[in-house]
Subunit: 324 residues, 2 copies
């Protein structure tokens, strides 16, 4: 069975999904759906581009829609709306609002008989899965999540909004000492400051007050004030040459005990491109969603509800024979 896929949104994540869908042997990309003027969008794969407003016309031509909008304003609206028409998968990552997003999407999907996977990617997503697995296996234990080294787009944007800043890139960096203590089964209590540091690379406007910029960054509430932050001023050329990518990654660790025996479970990712990897997870889950819907498993799902076999192109027999 070939799975017919649509992509809603064509930013970094949508471009990554296009790449991943085109690389999958069992999928075809039907089209890209955008809120922009479709004629202004030129996909690398040259698939047709349609207006998102016309999505409903493709109800019978798409098995699953991969939603590549943002969590702040796009997905809370788009996921329930599109789940009323299609099987969908999204990367909703506003942790605090997941229960309400789940409820809205579940209602729409159940009513329409569709299957909708939400909060898919690596965190939430793969990291969440490891947190649940590890916590279930080692109930007497402590789970730690570290992010980075990688680019935080939210923090980079926050720095860019400061007066006198022309461009900026912020890296979240996990503390080696904190990770060593966890790996050593010390089960440390770690403050926000002890877990991560923040590194900012800033291109300043000509004549800007660098001291003021540095101070504004380091004292910015929510974003930087609880962290040890370094600020390095660089040239535009240096920014382009050394900081143009969107690498990311991180670690989930669980240190637990059975009686007096220590056990450490560790999962980590080291990604050259955060959006391309996230899109690859969305694409594998799109396969699962299409299959689950065929089996009558409808409503909202998270990574906790999806058996691994549904993600794979391979048959259950192949998986058991070669990967078990």
């Amino acid at each position: 069975m070939t799975i017919k896929v649509g992509i809603a949104g064509y930013g970094n994540l949508g471009k990554g999904a296009e790449k991943a869908v085109c690389a999958a042997n069992d999928m075809t990309l039907t089209g890209i759906f955008t809120r922009r003027n479709p004629e202004s969008v030129h996909p690398v794969s040259q698939v047709p581009v349609y207006s998102l407003d016309d999505a409903e016309k493709f109800k019978d031509e798409i098995d699953v829609m991969i939603l590549c909008g943002g969590s702040a304003t796009d997905l809370p609206e788009q996921t329930p709306a599109l789940a009323a028409l299609f099987n969908v998968v999204d990367s909703f990552d506003t942790h605090a609002r997941i229960p309400e997003h789940f409820a809205a999407v579940d209602a729409a999907a159940k009513k329409a008989g569709t299957t909708a996977a939400i909060s898919i990617g690596w965190d939430p997503g793969l990291f969440s899965l490891i947190r649940v697995l590890a916590g279930s296996i080692l109930p007497d234990g402590e789970t730690y999540t570290f992010w980075g080294k990688g680019v935080s787009q939210g923090h980079s944007d926050a720095v860019r909004r400061i007066e006198g800043v022309k461009d900026a890139k912020q890296y979240t960096v996990p503390s080696q000492a904190a990770m060593d203590a966890v790996r050593n089964n010390e089960r440390p209590e770690l403050s926000t400051r002890q877990k991560h540091t923040r590194e900012c690379f800033v291109v300043a406007e000509e004549g800007a007050d660098l001291e003021r910029i540095e101070n504004e960054i380091k004292t910015m509430p929510n974003y930087f004030d609880e962290y040890d932050t370094t600020v390095t001023f660089i040239t535009e050329e240096e920014m382009a040459a050394s900081h143009s990518g969107l690498p990311h990654g991180g670690f989930v660790l669980r240190s637990g005990k059975t009686g007096d025996k220590n056990h450490l479970i560790e999962f980590s990712l080291k990604l050259d491109s955060n959006p391309e990897f996230t899109a690859s997870v969305l694409t594998a889950v799109a396969r699962a969603v299409a299959r689950m819907n065929k089996e009558g498993l409808t409503g909202a799902k998270t990574i906790f509800d999806i058996p691994a076999s549904y993600l794979s192109e391979k048959s259950p027999e192949e998986l058991r024979a070669h990967l078990l």
Copy 2:
């Protein structure tokens, strides 16, 4: 709902399962079932011990039976037989015979309306799960599994069978250079010799020919001839003091690409006690098996078929709110 659990077999694995079941808030241990004389078995938890031949009498008193026998001769017989009576979980780990074991257990479980999870533990088990997840997300990539550093009981036994050997312990050690190459996204082709080395600690009988023993170990077909092996002769006291545990662990890595971007997925375990950790996985899956059976999901299952939410004591709402 409290899950009533039975344990079949009381070796290292059964003792680990006893510990894990007693530590779970939602489980009670109904009894231990043994092929030995029940009066000769004295469980740490003081639960009743019964003859395995009497298991059928407990059909309605046990929600799930954790099978703790060996893969060579016990499980091929016990798992289908007990799946005809109970929901079961086993740790069958003879990779080459998994398809035939699955078929036998599936037939018995389907006929009886029970749920039977096979090949559960960390490899097969958690490592298999990561292999499927990682391969599904990064189809253009290569997966590597490294074991150790840890005790291989099969190899330790093989050394013990050599004439003049009083006691022996064999450690499987992953090659740092090979892992570094994988982590460096070089996607190396690795021979058996390049992936692992083997370290043997041997207590020889008095007057034994040490040179002959060392040579017999290093040239032993299947077990050692394809590896670089070191043999160290030690005293009985040293064996007891430094090599009495059963630590193990290992690594699953997938290095993959999306276009020109590299991504590395890594999962690792560092375990003080291989049987206690394996039993902890069996126990979490026992919870899943009991739940799946209540929902009518019968037949043989592997870790690929089990959604993570079924493994956790926590409700789906709690998992979404706190771990997603």
